[in-house]
């Protein structure tokens, strides 16, 4: 089999494996971990567009996840909306947040943009706590119903898993289409040289705004899925630490790639549940790993940036001796 067919087949094999996993795994907790991995993968797919392709850093993506989660909770519990409508609204509200954040970002670059997104993240996490009548404050927001697609209630572990990963599949295909066609080249051009992009007629402002909005939208949808899968949300979930986790997954996964960040999102999610995945692992080791989670992510970011700036995807490309981004 040629390298070319192998490359074309790899995503299909991976997709097939992801699809049949619930049939192979009967443990509900394990399935839930993989469901969370899918939710993270959804956020990271958006961040891969923003960071990996367009080269814009966001240190506040958990805020968009939170916006989506709270919107879903409010729409289903308080407004009694059908789930699909609430799901769409969650994406829309987060996308609107992305638009609001994109406006200052047009004037900012590098560290300053990072600071602005950081500020946005912190601001939103305070809003989640303080807007108690709406969000439930520090006590959180519970009783969020399971997803339902029309008359079909999605509540068992396997169905939730399929719903999440189905959404991921649609998002990845859409993101792949975007990155492989005209807008994707504009994003990569923006990353490469903003002046070069302008001189090539690239709509620099438009590309930045659209990418921000798209990544916020995916984060919002991920938030809605999280809220519906778990049934309870609180401000402690959508913190700066969570934003760093998403960024770590994206950076580790690599620039100019969707597959790399996707794989990294799954791997780093599994890392959080090592004790459940490896039965024999000493409890102390698992706890230590969990306690130092953020430190591990921070260290991972530093190591990747220093030693392999193009991340997992870059190592993969180098091993294969070049080839185009996928």
């Amino acid at each position: 089999m040629s390298a070319r067919t192998l490359r074309a087949l790899a995503p299909l094999v991976a997709a097939a494996f992801v699809a049949v996993l619930p049939l192979l795994v009967s443990d509900r907790f394990l399935l839930k971990i993989f469901t969370f991995a899918g939710i993270n993968a959804l956020v990271v797919t958006g961040l891969a567009l923003l960071f990996g392709y367009a080269g814009q850093v966001s240190l506040g993506h958990a805020a968009f996840v939170g916006l989506g989660a709270y919107t879903c909770a409010l729409c289903t519990v308080r407004l009694d909306w059908p789930w699909l409508l609430a799901f769409a609204a969650s994406g829309a509200v987060a996308a609107l947040g992305g638009l609001v954040l994109a406006l200052p970002s047009l004037r900012l670059k590098g560290h300053y943009l990072a600071m602005a997104t950081l500020g946005f993240g912190v601001l939103m996490s305070i809003v989640f706590v303080e807007a108690e009548p709406v969000t439930g404050g520090v006590d959180g927001f519970g009783g969020i119903p399971f997803p339902s697609l029309g008359p079909l209630l999605v509540r068992d572990a396997a169905s939730l898993y399929w719903l999440v990963w189905g959404t991921v599949a649609i998002a990845v295909v859409a993101a792949f289409n975007v990155t492989s066609l005209r807008p994707g080249r504009a994003m990569r051009a923006l990353h490469g040289s903003e002046q070069g992009a302008q001189a090539s007629g690239v709509d620099v402002v438009g590309v930045k705004v659209r990418t921000f909005v798209a990544s916020a939208l995916l984060a919002g949808l991920a938030g809605a899925l999280y809220a519906s899968v778990v049934g309870f949300i609180s401000p402690s979930i959508f913190t700066f630490a969570a934003s760093i986790t998403f960024l770590a997954m994206t950076v580790l996964g690599g620039t100019g790639s969707l597959a790399g960040p996707l794989v990294a999102a799954v791997l780093l999610t599994l890392l959080q549940y090592l004790d459940a995945l490896i039965p024999g692992i000493p409890t102390e080791t698992a706890q230590a790993l969990q306690r130092y989670q953020e430190d591990i992510y921070g260290l991972a970011i530093i190591l990747v940036v220093v030693f392999a700036p193009a991340g997992l995807a870059g190592l993969w490309r180098r091993r294969r001796g070049g080839g185009e981004a996928a």
Binding site: A174, N177, V178, S180, L181, R182, P183, G184, R185, A186, R188, A189, H191, G192, S193, Q195, G196, A197, Q198, A199, S200, G201, V202, D203, V204, R210, A214, T255, G256, G322, E324
Partner: protein, 256 residues
């Protein structure tokens, strides 16, 4: 017929007048060279013409339409493309992909069309790919199509940038020192390329230090010194112009 008319263009940086009341015309289908010692204001003038810098005074008419006040992108859309003195390539993209980006200026398909892989988006992609191949062949560097920009030799980088500018479909092409970093053979090829570009209907303005190239390719030359236009005319006249000779030899500027 004059394609570009710059009138009294002035650009100041604090107390320094980088471009001082410069006027000139570029006729359609010609190659015009813009020369002058380092610091004469050539790149500043280029930036003022292409929307990268807003002139403090004056007007730039392109085919009768005002360019001053337009963004770089709007300038490209109007039909004026440029290259940079220090190439601004997209390092992580291949030479071919770099040139494909230039086609963005002529195309419209957006995020939604791409997301759904609508025929318009796929057609734009195919068109950009074909155009990149055609332009790299025109310039004679098609063997670099799949090479990452970061790996290209300096001379090839300049040519890729020219191809990228041509991909925007310009009527006027502004080249900022295209021969810098080229060896003799490459410079010869560049001369041929410039003639081919002109013959394909694109008017050219070129900033260049290589006097051999300037004298060979240009129909007309404009000379700047310390921001002011000191001479303008055909190569044979410019070579003998006392003001030009003084600017190059008498200004204590070793870069001739």
């Amino acid at each position: 017929m004059s394609l570009l008319q710059a009138r009294n263009v002035t650009k100041r940086f604090g107390g320094l007048v980088a471009v001082d009341d410069v006027s000139f015309e570029v006729f359609e289908g010609t190659i015009k060279a813009l020369i002058g010692p380092n610091g004469a204001g050539k790149s500043t003038l280029f930036n003022a013409l292409t929307g990268f810098d807003r002139p403090d005074g004056g007007s730039v008419l392109f085919d009768g339409a005002e360019l001053v006040g337009r963004t770089p992108r709007e300038t490209v859309h109007a039909g004026v493309a440029r290259t940079f003195q220090n190439t601004r390539l997209f390092e992580e993209m291949t030479a071919g992909e770099n040139v494909m980006v230039g086609s963005q200026a002529r195309q419209r398909s957006g995020f939604l069309a791409a997301m759904l892989r609508l025929p318009a988006a796929v057609a734009d992609d195919r068109d950009a790919r074909a155009e990149a191949g055609r332009l790299l062949r025109l310039i004679g560097i098609e063997e670099w199509l799949d090479a990452p920009a970061a790996d290209l030799p300096a001379g090839i980088r300049r040519l890729v940038e020219i191809a990228r500018a041509l991909a925007t479909g310009p009527r006027l092409l502004l080249l900022d020192e295209p021969a810098a970093g080229l060896n003799l053979t490459e410079t010869r090829e560049l001369v041929q390329t410039l003639f081919r570009v002109r013959d394909s209907g694109v008017t050219v303005v070129v900033v260049e230090h290589d006097m051999g190239l300037v004298m060979e390719v240009s129909d007309e030359i404009i000379v700047l010194d310390r921001g002011r236009r000191i001479a303008e005319g055909p190569p044979r006249i410019i070579q003998k112009d006392p003001a030009v000779i003084a600017a190059y030899l008498g200004g204590g500027d070793e870069d001739v």
